[in-house]
């Protein structure tokens, strides 16, 4: 089967890889680029564990072909922390907002996208924004609190 040459930027780094036309961006991140922080929980866009941003837009990487990422800028969980953790990452640890941690990368990527659009969301806004990120461990309570606390800190820092 003919593979497609894809040139893209991931977490600021230029990358190239060959993708089967049927492979998703998620497949490419995990299997071609060794970026396994992005998770597959369903493969059908129902769980959000594979959340990444593409040119700044939050998407499920399982619902996008690798070939479609050509020329785009992709950001994954691996690119979220600089020298220091992003406030969301720190607050998730402090608030015990994760148990098994499998949904955590997707939720952090999604929450970061929310706070970039809306620095002061209500609990309800956070809950609906994150409705596509399933968590089976926490009941979401501590996740919402962690996002609020991170948002407050980021507003203060701004």
């Amino acid at each position: 089967m003919t593979k497609i040459h894809v040139t893209t930027t991931v977490n600021g780094d230029p990358v190239e890889f060959l993708a089967d036309p049927r492979e998703t961006l998620l497949d490419a991140l995990r299997n071609h680029l060794d970026l396994t922080g992005t998770k597959e929980g369903c493969g059908t866009g129902d769980c959000g564990a594979c959340s990444v941003t593409v040119d700044g837009t939050l998407v499920c990487s399982c619902l996008m072909l690798a070939a479609e990422a050509d020329g785009k800028a992709v950001e994954t969980i691996e690119g979220m922390a600089g020298e220091e953790l992003h406030p969301l990452q720190r607050k998730f640890i402090e608030h015990a907002a994760l148990q098994c941690g499998f949904c955590t990368p997707g939720i952090l990527v999604a929450a970061k996208a929310l706070l970039e659009r809306n620095p002061d969301p209500t609990d309800t806004e956070i809950r609906f924004w994150l409705a596509g990120n399933l968590c089976r461990c926490t009941g979401y309570d501590k996740i919402i609190r962690a996002v609020q606390d991170a948002a407050a800190e980021m507003r203060g820092a701004a």
Binding site: D20, R22, E23, D27, R30, N31, L35, T36, G37, T38, K39, E40, G41, C42, G43, T44, D46, C47, A49, T76, I77, E78, M80, A81, L85, Q89, R90, F92, I93, E94, A96, L98, Q99, C100, G101, F102, C103, T104, P105, L108, D123, T124, I126, R127, F128, L130, A131, G132, N133, L134, C135, R136, C137, T138, G139, Y140, D141, K142, I143, I144
Partner: protein, 750 residues
């Protein structure tokens, strides 16, 4: 049995430090089942039956074998024969034999050079089926006309004359039930049903397996218990346990569903057939829902007698449960003793049958059996409270089990906290908030035994006075943090100076999985014992250095001290000083503890929920939710709260929307998160928690397990709240909007 004296005034226990694995988990570095790869690795795919019950007449693999990149194809013919009992059941479930027993049952597997090639090859495997009659519903499966799914499933317990699909039978009780009912002012009897639900962990099952032609193998796998994986894979494949080394990955949720094998032997068998190349096998979500263990579905008759002042005089239950196409998988043995565990009732009769049906082999799910039992019993208690206009908490306080009560299933409760949870719920502001139109409040209590189990822990003191703890219970919800807290408390060192590792099967004695709410209890108990062993050795080293008797040395604040003025005057010798010199004072210092842990403390909780029901659509909104539960001692309160909240959320899902939906063809219709509807963030309110602490005398720090009880009360509590909001009592779960709307209309008709 010797009891540890319960201490209070801890330095570290009860604090909320950051979990040691947090950094890896927020940065994407934590490695889960599917995140591991090896050089030369192949990818596997599984061919699954599209039929609920079918004879496998022929499997043609020729087209698949001819596809470029395909390295191995296996069917049941590639597995050893002659297995019996549960080993045979495990093998039958790993790959179907003569018959496919449920929609999704594995029939063949293929390994190839990429995931896509493996999937293409799987589609090229042609299976010829003869479709057989099937049965799905628990009551239908034991009806006279039900098709016999498998012969000979009944074990010793099944009395003669029952349907061949009946596989187990239990009956027990105490007291004179008929006299109890005669003494009651009202006696009520109802039938309740719950549908099968899935644990719904977000991480699909995944493993990498490698096995050479010599039958030696390795596996990397997401599991709650890697020794179970080792034993079961060895049995299914006919190899020796010692020849399989299993390393657990980080685990993306389990809730009981990852305490057994489903597809792991396939990776090993494919690897062996492919010349020893490692094989990665990752389930899709659809495979997880179709072919891994959901919980049982249940049909339950309950009868209770109550006097007008709310005293329960007698109870009787008859439960019917199916746990899939294999015997022994439904939790009847747990559901029955859980059913009345919250009560002290003079006369009780429990009876249950297990039946097999054309559904996937059930696995444990958080407090197995207890949620269904609670739905039946607590719902009827609530119905009778409403009929008699009695407060549901007062009735539970009056009848509830307390210290010294003889439990419904035999033992006497030693020190338990049910009454304390009821008092805390009654006093909580949530119980006083006035309700608006179409709103209702529900209360229910729940129980779980908790479990000890086989446990092996090792602890080593480092040259710098830090400690490494090796445990065999995979960390699902923060147990590394709680174990580190307990060990640090015991050694008198900083939390950050204790590292807890989950180690592979070669590094410790056999450990049971992280199940039964046992990780913090049993691994904790063993870790503390190992730490005390190390402390004793460190005291000996100090004594030798000081030239005094080891008995004259005591350990406190992370250092050896002379035990008193008579012991001599020596400055304290810290763990760091002892560790630095240990090479010249006798060698490495470590502690081990191996035990089948006893002394579990029973767990009780009480929940209060307020809901609002849209009377025009039957949709239920959870307005507020309160979990009160006895933790014994909350080692890391944030993760105790997390267990309470997570359990409640799963119970809410079970109550409102989660269910296995089968078509008339016996195929699962909702094998995706789209239609298997677990709660999403916008479905839930904040979940309030109250941690009651009635320390368990069977644990050095008073720990009870906290993981399971929380899923139990939501089922009846929400049904009670919906009844309060609508006047309609619904006795089957889930409380899906069509069902609620129909019940509201029926209630209006009177």
């Amino acid at each position: 049995m010797a009891r540890d004296e319960i201490k209070t005034g801890y330095k570290l226990i009860g604090t909320r430090p950051n979990r040691p694995d947090g950094l890896d988990k927020v940065t994407g570095r934590a490695r889960y089942g599917a995140d591991f790869s090896l050089p030369g690795m192949l990818w596997a795919a599984v061919v699954r039956s599209p039929h609920a019950h079918a004879r496998i007449k022929k499997i043609d693999m020729s087209k698949a074998m001819a596809l470029a990149g395909v390295k191995a194809v296996i069917t049941r013919a590639d597995l050893p024969t002659g297995l019996t009992g549960e080993d045979l059941n495990l093998q039958d479930n790993t790959l179907a034999g003569d018959k496919a027993l449920y929609d999704g049952h594995a029939v063949a597997a293929v390994a190839a050079t990429s995931a896509l090639v493996a999937q293409d090859a799987a589609r090229l495997i042609e299976v010829e089926y003869e479709i057989l009659p099937h049965v799905i519903d628990v009551d239908a499966a034991m009806a006279p006309q039900a098709p016999v799914i498998r012969e000979g499933v009944a074990d010793y317990s099944v009395p003669e004359g029952m349907h061949p699909n009946v596989s187990r039978y239990i009956e027990f009780g105490h007291g004179d039930v008929e006299a109890g009912f005669a003494a009651a002012d009202i006696v009520r009897e109802q039938t309740y049903k719950t549908e099968a639900t899935h644990q719904g962990y977000i991480e699909p099952h995944a493993c990498v397996g490698q096995m050479g032609e010599d039958g030696r193998g390795e596996m990397w796998v997401c599991t709650q218990g890697h020794w179970y994986i080792r034993r079961m894979c060895a049995s299914v494949l006919g190899i020796e346990a010692a020849n399989l080394r299993v390393t657990p990955s980080e685990i993306g949720g389990g809730f009981g569903g990852k305490t057994t094998i489903f597809m792991e032997p396939l990776a090993l068998a494919l690897s062996k057939k492919a010349g020893g190349r490692p094989v990665k096998l990752v389930m899709t979500r659809s495979e997880v829902l179709r072919a891994t263990g959901p919980t049982a579905s249940a049909s339950m008759d309950v009868k209770l007698g109550m006097t007008s002042d709310g005293t329960i005089t007698a109870g009787q239950i008859y439960f019917r449960m199916q746990g899939g196409a294999f015997p022994g998988m439904s939790p009847i043995g747990e559901a029955l003793p859980c059913a009345f565990a919250c009560y002290d009732i003079p006369a009780l009769r429990h009876e249950a049958v297990e039946v097999i049906a054309n559904r996937p082999k059930a696995a444990a799910y958080r407090a197995p059996g207890s949620p269904m039992a609670a739905f039946a019993v607590e719902s009827l208690v609530d119905e009778m409270c409403r009929e008699l206009k009695l407060d549901p908490i007062e009735v539970r306080l009056k009848n509830g089990a307390r210290n010294g009560s003889k439990s419904s299933y035999g033992p006497v409760y030693n020190v338990i906290g049910l009454q304390e949870t009821l008092e805390a719920a009654k006093a909580h502001p949530n119980y006083q908030i006035p309700l608006g139109p179409n709103q209702g409040r529900g209360v229910a209590s729940g129980f779980w035994f908790n479990h000890g189990g086989e446990t092996s822990v090792s602890l080593a003191v480092g040259e710098d006075g830090t400690a490494t703890v090796s445990v065999g219970t995979p960390d699902i919800g923060g147990s590394r943090a709680s174990l580190a807290l307990m060990v640090a408390e015991c050694l008198g060192i900083a939390y950050e100076n204790v590292r807890v590792n989950i180690v592979e099967t070669g590094a410790l004695g056999v450990n049971e999985p992280t199940h039964g709410s046992r990780a913090t209890f049993a691994s904790g108990k063993a870790a503390v014992a190992a730490a005390r062993q190390a402390i004793a050795e460190m005291c000996r080293r100090a004594a030798a250095d000081w030239g005094i008797d080891p008995e004259a040395v005591e350990w406190k604040d992370g250092a050896a001290h002379p035990a008193g003025p008579n012991a001599g005057k020596f400055p304290p010798m810290t763990i760091g000083e002892i560790g630095a010199k240990m090479g010249s004072t006798g060698g490495p210092i470590s502690g081990h503890h191996e035990v089948t842990a006893e002394g579990v403390g029973a767990s009780f909780g009480t929940h209060v929920v307020d809901v609002e029901v849209d009377p025009e659509t039957g949709r239920t909104t959870v307005l507020r939710y309160l979990v009160v539960q006895d933790a014994g001692t909350a080692i890391h309160p944030a993760y105790v709260e997390g267990q309470y909240q997570g359990g409640a959320a799963q119970g809410i899902g079970w109550a409102l929307n989660e269910e296995y939906v089968y078509g008339p063809d016996g195929r699962l219709q909702n094998a995706a998160f789209l239609d298997y509807r677990i709660p999403v963030a916008s479905d839930l309110p904040m979940i309030d928690t109250v941690i009651v602490e009635v320390p368990n005398p069977g644990h050095p720090y008073g720990v009870r397990g906290v993981g399971e009880t929380g899923i139990t009360p939501p089922l009846p509590a929400i049904a009670a709240a919906v009844a309060g909001a609508t006047g309609a009592r619904i006795r089957s779960l889930p409380l899906s909007p069509p069902k609620v709307l129909a019940a509201i209309k029926d209630a209006r008709k009177g």
